[in-house]
């Protein structure tokens, strides 16, 4: 339960961190909140030769609205999301999510950037950011680029960052009029990963769903969107028939595996139930409810 040895580096700037990642190569890992990486190292599932600790780079910890986006620095801690009045009032899907990640003490260290970059389909932010149609900003030796969230998750624990690139920001489009969102998760106990969870972000215009995106947690090897379910609701009035069609579509298109948390059938059924509930909650919020 003791991690393997490594050399520790603590850059003061992003440029220094990128230069270190380039120099150290494959055996180097970024240390942000460490709440996934350190347990992985303790179990010897990860044994990096070098850790580059980015916690002392101040510009990565900001939460601000800028240019039509909510911009979250990669080092924003989950507890900051929990405590932000801006997020509680304007980004209910994100607020829902940050309150059910791990537990309050882990949330003091765990970061949003780490939760995404780890690309674990059991993590909660991937589904939420897929629903928000967020963008990931990465900086590397070749400069800065913006990656649409749909292109970010490429495999189990695998993201599309290039060697030497560091995730610096997450950008969530500011929700417009009639927007609403919700995240609903079933977990066995506080601190466990989801048995299943559903993230919904939608826009309601004149009684119809003008736009909708749905992300699913821990029911596939890669964080996924429920695109068939989205199609079942897009442009429709959200009546019982449309909701049932969407819920059944999501249950069919997800691809869970059986584990201690439940059987494949059970997890599909949870997706079906949670999809209805989260769309209903998002609709209520789009209509002005809290």
């Amino acid at each position: 339960m003791i991690p393997g040895s490594f050399d520790y580096h603590v850059p003061a700037t992003l440029d220094e961190a990128i230069a270190l990642m380039v120099k150290l190569g494959d055996g180097a890992k970024i240390l942000a909140g460490g709440q996934s990486l350190i347990p992985a190292m303790r179990f010897r599932l990860a044994a990096p030769d070098n850790l580059v600790d980015i916690n002392r780079i101040p510009e990565l910890s900001k939460i601000e609205e800028r240019g039509g986006f909510l911009v979250l620095g990669a080092l924003v801690r989950e507890h900051q999301l929990d405590e932000s009045s801006l997020i509680a009032s304007s980004y209910p899907l994100l607020h829902d999510t940050s309150r059910v990640i791990a537990d309050p003490i882990v949330r003091n260290q765990a970061t949003v950037g780490g939760n995404l970059a780890h690309a674990d389909p059991a993590n909660d932010h991937p589904a939420t950011m897929l629903a928000y149609d967020a963008q990931v900003v990465a900086r590397g030796p070749q400069g800065t680029r913006t990656i649409p969230i749909d292109d970010f998750f490429v495999g189990l624990f695998e993201n599309s960052l290039a060697p030497g690139e560091i995730l610096t920001e997450i950008r969530i489009p500011k929700p417009g009029a009639g927007a609403g969102g919700a995240y609903m998760k079933i977990e066995r106990k506080v601190g466990d990963y989801a048995v299943a969870a559903v993230a919904v972000q939608l826009t309601l215009t004149a009684g119809k769903i003008a736009a909708i995106r749905i992300g699913l947690t821990n029911v596939a090897a890669v964080p996924m969107r429920a695109t068939q379910a989205e199609r079942a609701l897009q442009g429709k009035a959200p009546d019982d028939a449309a909701l049932t069609a969407a819920a059944n579509a999501a249950a069919a298109e997800c691809d869970p595996s059986e584990d201690l948390r439940g059987s494949v059938d059970y997890k599909r059924d949870l997706v079906r139930v949670l999809l209805k509930r989260s769309v209903n909650k998002a609709l209520a919020r789009a209509g002005g409810a809290k």
Partner: protein
């Protein structure tokens, strides 16, 4: 390669040469001899190792000691003011907030974090605040009463 770190623990400055892989809980217990901080699950699930790092409750089994360099750590040993117990310690005493006591230091450090963020918590906020700390004896009710006692006693004056 070993690293030289300086950490202020309970108001006292310590400089030590450590391996980067040393976890904060091992540094506190083995290098500094402060064994009030307990090791339970070792996997960030149980909260027995909770301490405060730069003002935030942190599971010290999931934090490298080297990360605390130039920082401020507070453990259960730093809570009492001389012979006078901290209101949270008084609460656990008065309300019988423990049986075996194994989870107690972590529980108190988490409760302190909660009271710093929410000085007047409701019962459900208390249960929420300690949801990352496991107790296998009390059934939690007495712990909730102990924290409520401390909140009343402190009355917003800072935990």
């Amino acid at each position: 390669m070993k690293k030289l770190i300086t950490v202020t623990v309970n108001g006292e400055s310590y400089t030590r040469e450590i391996e980067p892989r040393m976890l904060l809980v091992h540094f506190i217990r083995e290098d500094l001899g402060l064994t009030g901080t307990h090791i339970g699950c070792d996997t960030s699930s149980c909260g027995a190792c909770t301490v405060s790092v730069n003002g935030l409750a942190t599971k010290s089994c999931t934090y490298f000691a080297v990360q605390a360099d130039k920082g401020k750590v507070e453990t259960i040993e730093g809570l009492a003011d001389g012979a006078g117990l901290h209101p949270l310690q008084q609460g656990f005493w008065e309300k019988h907030g423990l049986q075996c006591g194994y989870c107690t230091p972590g529980m108190i450090m988490s409760a302190r974090d909660l009271l710093r963020k929410k000085p007047h918590p409701t019962e459900s906020e208390i249960r929420w605040g300690i949801s990352g700390n496991l107790c296998r004896c009390t059934g939690y009710n007495k712990i909730v009463e102990a924290i409520q006692f401390a909140a009343d006693k402190l009355d917003g004056k800072g935990a």
